[in-house]
Symmetry: C2
Subunit: 523 residues, 2 copies
């Protein structure tokens, strides 16, 4: 039977070692007095003491390994944490030092969405460490931040992230992100080299998905999250749902690793647990900076993020925190090619021109490696059902219908786009754009004679109700005629297009999830 | 200007104390080299050293207080954590010991949904500590757990929660919760005294709301969550969204408090931070049990949970972990009336009859206090739009309309209920009950002459589109006539009822969130 092996460093009198191991095993699995542990419960759920070794340089210190039946993890990340370090996190003189998972349990954890290779493909940068920086300090204007993005991207930098202190409100966030993206876009157009911008998302539970939906719609490729604040599995789930590169910030993590006798080893938190929870880039304090992580701790994190681990992608180590230009050579030697070197303050202080500083830092990185850059190209695409709509209507309780117009709701006939993606479509946003408390939007579309919608696909579904005239709907290779009150459910990632060849307008309601992915053009 | 005052215990050479305070202030606010900190940034965001005191019994140990302008918290819980203990959590020899918030910042944190008073009202138990236990050990059958619930409730116990190790899958979860609720219901019918059951919810991000929706629909009043695993604000958000009593389990929390020189004080995590994050009942290890929390630590947690704190409700301290019958008297004296005493293993071991053990423990509690019990009563209520529907249809892409019937979709005319809640309504579940990937359900309702829907209210909204004939809709004290294609948005918690006095049937589409709360009867 497959086993999960969990190892701890414990400080105890040797005579009490076995008893302590038993106590931990019970605490973490069934938390019940011995008298209630039957043979079947023991064999199905309890951990058995598998190995004991003496830690030679510390008095009364031992490493012990407990082997649990795999069933106890219930194929769940949260339960893995609960098992390895739930109640026992409250024991003094017990430190979690290793976790070993059987292969097919590993396979149920999704790991990074992009990983080292996926991020390199987004950037088109191969063969050398990536250069990253942070937008700071809080207090700068969004124009100043956008300008930093522009200079950093022009100077050849790879990733620019928000500082984790850049927390304000949604409007300011949108303004900053829009301006930074525009600045990077401009730099990319001129340099031909891609640069990624990762906004920091920190918002109350009630609002946080709004941020993800919005950044995704802007074409943002990745985000910075603080997993110990948001929750490890919550961060994974959000990054995965929105298919984003997930850079993890170590805010609020230190207590798990700072004590030599309690908490857990550095490589477990910033390495294994992060990687299992989908972190693509793990930011942690580099040795020799403002924090006291040792050289060995830092290397153990980097190794854990990149070692072969079932089907789970490798993640980037991202040492940070007070490193200087003069440290770069050594960091390149230590961390090797597949790392992200994050330089904040020292890059800003290096010269009055951020572009020139970035070039200097980047050149230093490239010098030790054989870099390969793939030119950045852009694609454009217009979707008829997501096109350019800025509603200015108010939340209405009663929206009266009158001959395919609705009182208080504008019927927008947008100009046909130059790429011919769609034609002759009018739209009425009935419910959802005005602060309504629902998880869906209700729209009415009308296609006049010879008009058609964009041929596209997306993860979110369409539910369509015929409301006026009739039209043709092509879904993959099927064709339907839709007339009044016919209902059509268009499945995820199905190519679809709606057309009207009749004189009478073809009108239909279309209901979509409020939070939805951007359409992809179909051929 | 209002200030947030954050206090740390630091171990350092006295000569370096001011420098360290400055370093922490910069680390936590703008994380930027001194050269980039302008006067305006300094005054808007940096913390000023406000107080220094010597800790008399520890060498080189000081308490320092930094006062930050309120703006830096951005009215956000996650940012409060980031500010007080983000990066500095990685500093050795720095421990967070206090946080003081200005009044109107306190008011933006919602705090417990129910608090001490709300939970007492749910239970009808006043004047004494509450007696709680845990369903354990993992490995018992659901029948065994249900029987434990029955015996505990009959014995006069107040709260029974899942053990945090009871993690399996959704089907098993549903079976356990259903059986436990039924058992408690049976006991309540016979004893007339209420008992609350809190299932432990631990599930991947993608599935977790499914659990909340389901338990809410079963009438569950509260849940057990592990906030440091799920995320502090995520737990708050979920408990609030589903209006549940939120009991917090300390799994994975220990590293924040176990070290004397790092992490944070017990009362901050299990008290203030929990309470601000909506915890109604904070479970923590009692002194003298299996863990090494001191008497003083435990009292500081209890005091923090119950002290006056702006408009934020008081929460229950819930000491747990290896306490015995013989400890009860002392615990009652220590913790006083407004506490929940959680006894697991010792209650199970006390006698062969859990009912008798519970009675004995409960009597011990009652002896020191003047208990008052309000009899438990049940209310029944039928909602026309959520009534008894079990769909057996398959996912269809094209659902053809024909004279207000849809191919492949049953039109259900359910029997009018005996309480007269609604009359003459037919329903067609068009989209949403058959595995469709959307966040909403599309239904068609038809009210024939003299029929009416239930007069009710709920948190989720209705979006209604007139489709056949016309009808009357009463929303609070307004009345609308709805005809074909009129759209109606019924706001959260608004009393509403739909009626038809015409010969022609009144048909309408009704779109609702997939995950929605249960309706409440309106008068």
């Amino acid at each position: 039977m497959a086993e999960v092996v969990v190892s701890y460093q414990v400080i105890t009198d040797e005579k009490e070692l076995k008893e302590l191991a038993r106590k931990i095993s019970i605490e973490q699995s069934v938390e019940t007095p011995e008298s209630l542990i039957t043979g079947e419960i023991e064999s199905r759920y309890l951990g058995q003491l598998k190995e004991v070794s003496v830690v030679s340089d510390k008095a009364n210190t031992f490493n012990i390994s407990l082997a649990y039946p795999e069933e106890i993890v219930s194929q769940q990340y949260n339960q893995l944490i609960n098992l390895c370090f739930g109640n026992v996190s409250m024991y003094p003189n017990v430190k979690l030092i290793d976790i070993s998972l059987p292969q097919h349990l590993l396979n149920i954890f999704s790991g990074p969405n992009y990983g080292v290779t996926g991020i390199r493909d987004c950037l088109g940068v191969y063969g050398r460490p990536l250069l990253a920086t942070a937008l700071k300090p809080r207090g700068y204007t969004n124009e100043q931040f956008a300008n930093m993005c522009y200079e950093f991207a022009l100077g050849g930098g790879d990733i620019i992230k928000d500082d984790q202190n850049l927390v304000s409100n949604f409007d300011d966030f949108k303004q900053r992100v829009s301006q930074c993206l525009a600045a990077i876009d401009k730099a990319q157009q001129s340099s031909g080299k891609a640069c990624l911008y990762f906004p920091f998302i920190s918002a109350p539970f009630e609002e946080i998905e709004k941020y993800f939906v919005w950044v995704k719609a802007q074409g943002v490729k990745g985000v910075l999250l603080a997993p110990l604040i948001l929750g490890l599995d919550t961060s994974r789930g959000l990054a995965t749902k929105y298919d984003l590169i997930y850079m993890a910030h170590p805010s609020f993590t230190g207590s798990y690793c700072v004590s030599p006798n309690e908490g857990m080893s550095y490589h477990l938190l910033y390495g294994l647990l992060y990687r299992l929870a989908g972190v693509d880039i793990s930011v942690y304090p580099n040795t020799g900076g403002r924090f006291e992580f040792s050289e060995q701790d830092c290397k153990s994190i980097a190794d854990e993020l990149r070692r072969p681990l079932g089907n789970i992608k490798s993640a980037f180590p991202c040492p940070a925190g007070g490193m200087q230009y003069s440290d770069l050579q050594r960091m390149c030697e230590w961390y090797k090619q597949d790392s992200v070197l994050l330089l904040g303050g020292s890059l800003l202080e290096y010269s009055p021109s951020l572009k020139k500083s970035t070039q200097a830092f980047k050149d230093k990185l490239s010098a030790s490696f054989e870099e390969k850059i793939v030119e950045h190209t852009r694609t454009t695409f217009s979707s008829s059902c997501e096109y350019n709509y800025e509603g200015n209507n108010s939340l209405l309780e009663y929206i009266e219908f009158n001959n395919y117009e609705w009182l208080g709701r504008e019927k927008v006939e947008y100009k046909n786009v130059s790429d011919g993606s769609f034609s002759n479509i009018k739209r009425v946003e009935l419910v959802g754009k005005n602060g309504e408390h629902c998880q869906f939007d209700l729209r009415y579309f009308e296609i006049t004679q010879n008009g058609y919608s964009t041929k596209e696909m997306h993860e979110h579904v369409h539910v369509i109700i015929g409301a006026r005239g009739k039209g043709k709907v092509i879904v993959d290779n099927k064709e339907y005629e839709v007339k009044e009150n016919d209902v059509l459910y268009i499945k995820p990632m199905t190519t679809h297009q709606l057309l009207n060849s009749n004189v009478e307008a073809f009108g239909f309601y279309c209901i979509v999830d409020r939070e939805r992915d951007q359409p992809i053009a179909a051929q």
